[in-house]
Amino acid sequence: MTTDTGNTGKSNTFAFQDKLFARTTQFFALLVLVTLLGIIGSLIMGSWLTMTQTGAKFLVTDVWDPVRSLFGGMAPLWGTIITATIALVIGVPVSFGIAVFLTEMCPPALKRPLGTAVELLAAIPSIIYGMWGLFIFAPLFAETLQPFMINTLGKLPIVGPVFQGTPNGFGVFTAGVILSVMVIPFIASVMRDVFDTTPPILKESAYGLGATTWEVVWNVVLPYTKTGVIGGIMLGLGRALGETMAVTFVIGNAYNISAKLFEPGNSIASSLANEFNEASDPAHLSALITLGLTLFVLSFIVLALSRWMLSSMSAKEGKRT
């Protein structure tokens, strides 16, 4: 043990400690970057066989035949996009409603229990949602709502064919509904938190001018919090794109491209979950890894699009003032 006396020695130790701290945190942050690059690198390496042999055609081929070793990723890509879209179409308005009620209209006694309930919903493991979908929702849906939708929406002139089919409870639409239940807590809790950040003075002013609750939310709260709201939606979309078990249970797992929402389909994540174990043929394995890479790129595009949307929105804002 040596003790430092004198001012210069002490400040040196502090400088060293600061430096050490900075380097350590820098190391942790860089670790994320290295991991990310490592994942991209190994995905590209794994998918090399498919990329060199099939190339970009992989994304527009809908054949998936392990026996003949012909692989195309269009069907799972299609299923992934459709289920995520259904999830957002249902999930975003519902989450918006939840957030508006919790921040603007909810009696204080209900605010905490309801908010906690929404957060707890987000903590349920996805396999539970999958089992709930398989055992409870799908049979119930097949007996009640699905025949009703086939008889009403299915009879409409243009969108009719989308809602036709056998009411067996499984398929792309069911997967989309389960996903919407899974993304609602994410989107709703983020929306509630950012709505709460709106300065009361802005809201009070609008109310003072005679605005209704809807007008306040739409014209004051939403413009003020749009970055956070879009961030919340993207978080939900990310979960919807990558969800595996819950989708695998109910989507029907058929390599099938169809506009009919009640037909069985497939998503990228569920194909991976289903086939990785038994894929011994190198071409099959490589095709699966290429699907993984596709999902990675898809998520990246979604993230980039949301950034671009936000920046173009703030650019417009600048012009208005």
Binding site: P66, T248, N274
Partner: protein, 343 residues
């Protein structure tokens, strides 16, 4: 100081003892279909001999990969490897247990085992050519039954040995299936919804009225699913029973097939169930760890002689004694560096 040294020393002794015990653990990986019986055998074997057997059911494809890369003492696969592949990788293959695949339905008007189908009709259903239960091809086989409504085809979504046996049978009885779809642990299905695992298929079949699916026999029996009687090669309609699986293996040409690579589908014999199948064990012919391979062979020798009762309890069929002696002859191919049989 003295005390802590003693503790250290005894800990080290314990560690040595533990590693000595670990040396007599044999490891295997592969097919999920025989997992329950291998696990039970392993448990009983440990009680009888003290040697532990650790089997991981990671799927047949995984089992083949693991034995090729020598990370396990034995691999297991539901799909037998061809003699060329065995020779190329230096592997020895033998069957260990027999089971069967059973088509099941869900119709209110039909009792278990009442419906009869032939292979070509089953293939046409899975090809999507027969779409309703009152199709003439089905009603002609089942004159007394009230059949109606659309057919929902259910099959596996994951790669599986069960699928391999099922489509191997369809390819044998339907030239169209053979040319259009082919045979594998996963195929490009022309029709239907896919369930993950036996339980996924069973779940879909139980939920969807008018559906047809296929599961392992043990699974169908445990869950009381409505099985279908099938017409076998001899033209007889048979029910899936252990006796019918054993009949299929009795007529099999184990001796004349290189690598014992017999797929027990569509075998001759009045009583044979057409979708029977054996699950196979893969081992290196020139193992690096001779002692481990000897332990594995000791284990299977014990299991084939004493494991019949537990196999029947779990709805599997033990191999008949005649086949067991053929397997023991096959084991002579596993030798040490000097060319001497390890067991």
């Amino acid at each position: 100081m003295n005390f802590s040294f003693k503790v250290l020393a005894s800990t080290a002794l314990l560690a040595v003892a533990a590693s000595a015990a670990a040396q007599t653990t044999i490891t295997g990986a592969g097919a999920t279909f025989p997992f329950p019986i291998y696990a039970k055998w392993g448990d009983e074997y440990k009680k009888a001999t003290g040697v532990a057997m650790n089997y991981q059911s990671i799927g047949s494809g995984g089992g083949i990969k693991q034995i090729q890369s020598k990370t396990v003492d034995f691999g297991a696969s539901d799909m037998p490897l061809s003699a060329e592949v065995l020779a190329k990788d230096g592997l020895v293959q033998f069957p260990a247990i027999i089971g069967g695949v059973v088509p099941v339905t869900n119709m209110d008007s039909v009792k278990p085992g009442e419906m009869k189908l032939t292979g070509p009709v089953l293939a046409d259903i899975y090809l999507g050519k027969i779409k309703t239960w009152n199709d003439k091809a089905i009603t002609d086989l089942n004159p007394g039954l009230k059949l109606e409504g659309p057919i929902t085809v259910v099959r596996r979504s994951d790669g599986s040995g069960t699928t391999f046996l099922f489509v191997d049978y369809l390819a044998k009885v339907s030239p169209e299936w053979k040319s259009k779809v082919g045979v594998g642990t996963a195929v490009s299905w022309p029709e239907g919804v896919g369930g993950k695992g036996n339980e996924g298929v069973a779940q879909y079949v139980q939920r969807i009225k008018g559906s047809i699916g296929y599961v392992e026999y043990a699974y169908a029996k445990k869950n009381k699913l409505d099985h279908i009687a099938m017409k076998n090669k001899a033209g007889q309609f048979v029910q899936p029973t252990e006796g019918a699986f054993a009949a299929a293996s009795a007529g099999a040409d184990w001796k004349g097939t290189p690598g014992m690579a017999v797929v027990l589908t569509e075998q001759a014999g009045e009583k044979s169930w057409p979708m029977s199948g054996a699950s196979f064990i893969l081992m290196h012919a020139k193992p690096a760890k001779v002692d481990s391979s000897r332990e594995v062979l000791k284990f299977f020798d014990w299991a084939l002689k004493n494991g019949g009762k537990s196999a029947s309890e779990l709805e599997y069929v033990p191999l008949p004694p005649a086949t067991v002696s053929l397997i023991q002859a096959e084991w002579k191919k596993i030798t040490d560096a000097g060319g001497k049989a390890v067991f």
